[in-house]
């Protein structure tokens, strides 16, 4: 079975779906691999890195033509689909819930498609869980980015030239990204506060040294590790509880998501206007509409002295590690789906069932 | 009570010995790690086998014709020795685990 690795076309994207290390693994398992030329460049993988391990480096067209399975990180776009042909298996993050027309298009092509973002949050699936592996890095990078943008330093320092007070960092959403953000900020010596709609995250946040801001929660439970949409009322109570910290924060990182839905707005423009001069907001949910009203995806907006940076949990900037992990996830995923290099199509099995969105042109999930 | 006082006055030194021995016993044992509880119990048990001395004395002093005494004494000795030898042996085996591996 031939696996084709495509170069990411989405702007700003630096990652690649399969790293040389994992390519080697797959080949050792008997798969054939071909890769679009320069696909690894931005993750500092040279074409030679792939050649050296018998991955055929080809022009884009060739990859599309020859591969049985096409792997990619970001959703296949119309350009890609033009070249997809019947019977091909597409593996990538499709966000099928929020992009029905894409699914239609794929079906129309008579292709088969797995959506990596749909991997269920069950223990045995953790090693295929691209959301976890990527948001984890995103959490780290968000803090580094923030620290780089700020005009202050994180740690407390008592020096001959006076004392520098530690920066205050506020984290919305204590998921994978949120936790890693807490850990990183804490390491750098910041005073970290965090809040989340899921009460079970209090202990988790505290286990990493953050102060948790509890918002009394009337029945906003989570399902399968994910949060449900919050009520008007909750949103209000949340502001009540968090504002004091928000207005003193030097760095704010928002990671709140509700899968398949628009991200909840947690910081209104009005709130931003009351924040400290020189504060920075990193909105990791920008792609889903943003947790901050002001933020715009991959833009830096300055609202009276407050920098608002919109980005995603896709940690392009740490592409080397990100690609490595993503690749490992795909590897585990393929190992799970296949048996001596052939798909098992075991539709009873939970992971397959949840991720297989289109099968030979018929849509299984909406 | 009077018995006690009487006893004390008649065996004053014995009394001191008893009291001092008690203190020694206490001081020597207090604050030992819990893993040693069983071995120590076993060791103490072996020690309590000193009754054997008594048993032997019984036999030494009983005249060869008094079969009852002899028989009982005999049993007493056997049991006592069992307690002593067995006790020490078991204790020793229990303590195997404390041989430093390195």
């Amino acid at each position: 079975m031939k696996i084709g690795i495509l170069k990411e076309t989405q702007k700003g994207e630096k990652r690649i779906a399969i790293s040389p290390n994992v390519a080697k693994l797959l080949i050792s398992k008997g798969f054939e691999l071909l890769i679009e030329e320069d696909a690894g460049k931005n993750s500092s993988y040279k074409n030679s890195d792939y050649c050296d391990i018998q991955v055929a480096v080809e022009k884009r067209g060739v990859v599309f033509k020859e591969a049985d399975v096409l792997v990619k990180i970001n959703p296949f776009d119309d350009e890609d689909l033009k070249m997809v042909h019947k019977g091909q298996v597409l593996v990538s993050q499709l966000y099928y819930k929020s992009s029905p027309e894409l699914i239609e298009a794929i079906a129309a092509k008579g292709a088969t498609a797995f959506s990596l973002d749909a991997i269920p949050r069950i223990s045995r699936a953790q090693d295929m869980d691209v959301l976890s592996s990527q948001s984890n890095l995103a959490g780290y990078k968000a803090v580094i980015l923030g620290a780089n943008e700020m005009t202050k330093i994180f740690p407390l320092m008592m020096t001959a030239a006076g004392t520098i007070t530690p920066s205050k960092v506020l984290i919305y959403g204590v998921g994978v990204a949120g936790l890693q953000a807490i850990a990183t900020a804490k390491r750098l010596g910041a005073v970290v506060e965090a809040t989340d709609i899921r009460t079970e995250t209090k202990e988790q946040a505290e286990s990493l040294g953050a102060k948790f801001i509890s918002v009394e929660n009337k029945g906003e439970e989570s399902e399968g590790g994910y949060a449900k949409e919050a009520s008007e009322d909750y949103a209000y109570r949340q502001k009540e509880a968090v504002n004091k910290s928000l207005f003193q924060a030097d760095l704010v990182i928002t990671t709140a998501n509700i899968p398949g839905r628009k991200a909840p707005v947690l910081i209104t423009e009005e709130q931003v206007s009351q924040m400290k001069n020189g504060a920075v907001i990193i909105d990791l949910a920008a792609a889903q509409g943003g947790n901050c009203e002001v933020s715009i995806m991959s833009k830096t907006i300055v609202k009276n002295g407050v920098k608002v940076i919109g980005t995603t949990i896709a940690p392009e900037s740490v592409s080397t590690n990100a690609s490595e992990l993503f690749a490992k996830n795909i590897y585990n995923f393929l190992m799970h789906l296949t048996e001596n290099n052939q798909f098992k199509w075991d539709l009873e099995e939970e992971i397959t069932d949840e991720t297989l969105i289109v099968k030979d042109g018929t849509i299984r999930k909406k | 009570m009077n018995e006690l006082i009487e006893f004390i006055s008649s065996n004053l030194q014995i009394t001191y010995i008893i009291i001092l021995a008690t203190f020694v016993g206490i001081e020597v044992i207090k604050s030992i790690p819990a893993v040693l509880h069983t071995p120590l119990m076993s060791g103490a048990n072996a020690l309590s086998g000193v009754v054997i001395v008594g048993a032997i004395l019984v036999m030494l002093h009983s005249d060869p014709t008094d079969y009852v005494a002899l028989a009982l004494g005999f049993i007493a000795v056997v049991l006592g020795v069992l307690n002593v030898v067995g006790g020490f042996a078991v204790t020793d085996r229990m303590l195997e685990m404390f041989k430093k591996k390195k």
Binding site: - | H37, V51, K101
Partner: protein, 464 residues
Amino acid sequence: MNILLSIIYLISTITFIVGLKKLGHPETAKSGNLIASVGMGLAIVGTIFINDIEVPIIIYVLIGVAITIGSIMGWLIAMKVEMTKMPELVSLFNGFGGASAALIGVVEFIGNDNISGTKATMVATILSAVAIGSITFSGSLVAWGKLNGSLKSVIKIPQYNIINNLFVIAIISFSAYIVMSGSDSQLFLYGLLGLGIVYGVLFVLPIGGADMPVVISLLNSLTGIAAAITGVLYDNMVMLVGGILVGSAGIILTISMCKAMNRTLGSVIFGSFGATAVAEEGINKSLGTIKKTTSSDAAIMMNYATNVIIVPGYGLAVAQAQHVIHELEELLVSKGVNVKYAIHPVAGRMPGHMNVLLAESNVDYSILSEMDDINPQFANADVVLVVGANDVVNPAAHNDPASPIYGMPILDVEKAKHIVVNKRSMKAGYAGIENELFYNSKTSMLFGDAKEALTELVGELKGM
């Protein structure tokens, strides 16, 4: 009395004290036991051969035979019993000791031609030897039976502790009567013997198996006292002092045993006993019962181990015990133990959670092992210390297709020789499922908040 013998006795007494002393420390325990036994040997040999009276050969022969029989039997039994059965064996031996004391008493009583003539104190001594001896005898036998399972069910006698206390009173007053009356009726004597035996049974019978060690230790110190009394009888120093030593040491030991199982000696003596032993925490119908341990036991285990593997989990983070665990690790290393950390990929609540923690306390990266590297190594680990981890060491992931974590790779801690698990309770982890590892016979549970438990552990280790 012969001076040489007295000196021999003096020496053996000293060996007893020294022996006991050394028995109290892991390093010296073995030698302590040896010393004491040598002393005992001396005393015995001395008693036999050094005496001023005329002893017919036949008696020597008999003694010789008796001793040979006893020694051989004792030795054999002691050697072939397996580790797990030792406590019950101790109990058995202890019973013999008691019997021996009782018999001596009997002989003295019946052997003595005019008991009525002898001083009251003497008679009292004799009788108490009989009474105590018989109690320890029967009591120990029952304990032994309970431990080796031949006496299963916890027999609950209604108001048994009232009855018991009545018995105590009966025994005392009865012997008092004998003394006063100065009667020499053997009937009475055997009556007393009988009472003792029955009481011993009644005393131990209602007690749950879990508490047997305490009972044995208690009975043992009784034997000691019996020995001391016989010592008085013959004003024989070694018996006297030796007996007292065992007596007092035994009591202290009993108390500390109770402490270790956090009970009071009171609750032990007055029946309330066993009560809790019935409703043991952590008994699970399907999985069996768990084994609790104390920090000092865990400490000793590790101190004498060659390879120790630490498995940290989410609990370590919750307790913020990263600094203590590092201290523990350093301490063990300084004692020549090889220590490694086994990091499960999803231990904690975020990827790399354990790494963040351990980096904070400067644990050297080189001793952090990934799951795949460490799993083969568990087999030759003497002790695995699981700290606040649960799902990541849950064998259900291998064995139980129904389990939500089935198929998740786990750390194969089961392969290790001993497993010590520290957590606060029997509560489940993230996946919310039971963990049969905790019920494994090789596993002992060290309950408590990780930080506190480990701090104690470190304390104990420093003391060694």
